[in-house]
Symmetry: C2
Subunit: 320 residues, 2 copies
Amino acid sequence: MLDPVLPTFDDVRAAAARIAPHALRTPVLRNPELDALLGAEVHFKCENLQRGGAFKFRGACNAVFALDEATARRGIVAQSSGNHGTAVAIAASLRGVPAHVVVPRNAPAIKLAQMREHGANVILCEPTMAARESESQRVLAQTGGTMVHPFDDPRVAAGQGTATLELIEQAGPLDVVVAPVSGGGLISGTAIAAHGIDPATTVIGAEPAQAADAFESLRQDRRITDMVPDTICDGLRAHLGRIAFEVLRRERVEVLLASEAQIVAAMRLQWDRLKVIIEPSCAVPLAALLATRERWRGRRIGIILSGGNVDLDRLPWQSA
Amino acid sequence: MLDPVLPTFDDVRAAAARIAPHALRTPVLRNPELDALLGAEVHFKCENLQRGGAFKFRGACNAVFALDEATARRGIVAQSSGNHGTAVAIAASLRGVPAHVVVPRNAPAIKLAQMREHGANVILCEPTMAARESESQRVLAQTGGTMVHPFDDPRVAAGQGTATLELIEQAGPLDVVVAPVSGGGLISGTAIAAHGIDPATTVIGAEPAQAADAFESLRQDRRITDMVPDTICDGLRAHLGRIAFEVLRRERVEVLLASEAQIVAAMRLQWDRLKVIIEPSCAVPLAALLATRERWRGRRIGIILSGGNVDLDRLPWQSA
């Protein structure tokens, strides 16, 4: 297998210019009580308030708008049961080209509705990796469209990095930047952007202890792809991608873990204090920082709040 | 009874300068789907993200910092079971002076904890107006402190108006500004600020149909103070104050009503779309606009999102 093409800081800057007309410049929140709890100065970059309710729109938008016109017109193909599918649907609709999203039959109805609301052609398949893959190949062959991978695509990772560019413009220089890790598009873009601005910045990936494949991959210095995640964080169940593995090693990103109880407590704490809706996956950075708080005293910290798509009928602190 | 002293646009501008070092400049959110639903351009001013989780901090901060040093040092006295008490506690603690908050025994424990967290001396009393009043008088006599009323105080109403000054700075000129109505501090400040900038702006107060004393007061042209509210909106159960009644008449503010079902639906809709936490009281403006949507087509509308203090264990769309 060829080495993957890694995105560069120039790619992140080009992505920022490309998506600027389409993506929201999300606000950065501060909270005195959370600062006091960590003994640090924390800047929360609200990608939960991004279009589609997640940072995913940045990467999808960059990938869709990077295509030449003839290629784009043949359409975009994506596999997703969640935020990436909605992000691709919105980006394709803004570009005025078709989006075909292959979705497992058991995906939440609200996700299907969101994709359709943005004009996507939703294609249901059996909920197996093999079915998703073969269905996607069929759609690609039939349409001549372009697949946009949720994370293992340098245009996608570069797009995700634009959140950190903006955050540092808005908050000023940061000592530490923290983002959740799943397939690794967000944390890769985050590391490239933060280190492009200041190579001395500490970049932390935050991962559920019960889906710790990125942590293990870095520890064993080989990409672990056979762990079975068992976490409430529905956005963090993918395995670390090839691009992310290389970027995390090169950029010396450290991965910190948080338990399920720590994640739910941090989610509730942020709902209570920040008054914004975040999904469980999005709570992992603060959970991981609180679990290691003596390290962060006096530091200027940025946290990427990754998304706010949560089932409001079933909140994790409500049993039954 | 003397006519009340009404705040002026100059008072609102002075308040903005006075509270600037202490209050957050809250973000203004946009949402394409909510725009489409109303056929209008809606700018949401996020006072739910203000200190203390509500616009109340603006008025309390203006009142507390307007006092001369000797007066302030004798302390601030407030009656509140909710957001105003927390707002006064935060403002007094920022000024470094004592806050005494008289709170009915049956107030939610979380509200007491918030006030105490900000250093307030919480004084419990029986849950009657008479007990609150006599207890407040006792504390005033004992401390020589200054009472800050939650709405019927021109410094408080002027402070609340600063949210609209900021909103128009951030969003540009608006055709319509909408805020919830209870005692009327917020809607008074909103009308004075909006009309100070452009007298042609339509200013709308939004009120629960089951707590429609402001609507009735304007309709009958006399202040109605004997209605018994029966609404989920715990922040909108006060009767319209004397200042607000005069300001609303003078500024030709229109009051629109929303049913309990419309309020809960609008609350859920805003949680889903805006990804910010708003309390039921805060959902009334969008509920009232949606109920009259044909009037708003093509207009530029500002909504003051008034607060986000809600019991996360008991959400109104979850029965039992």
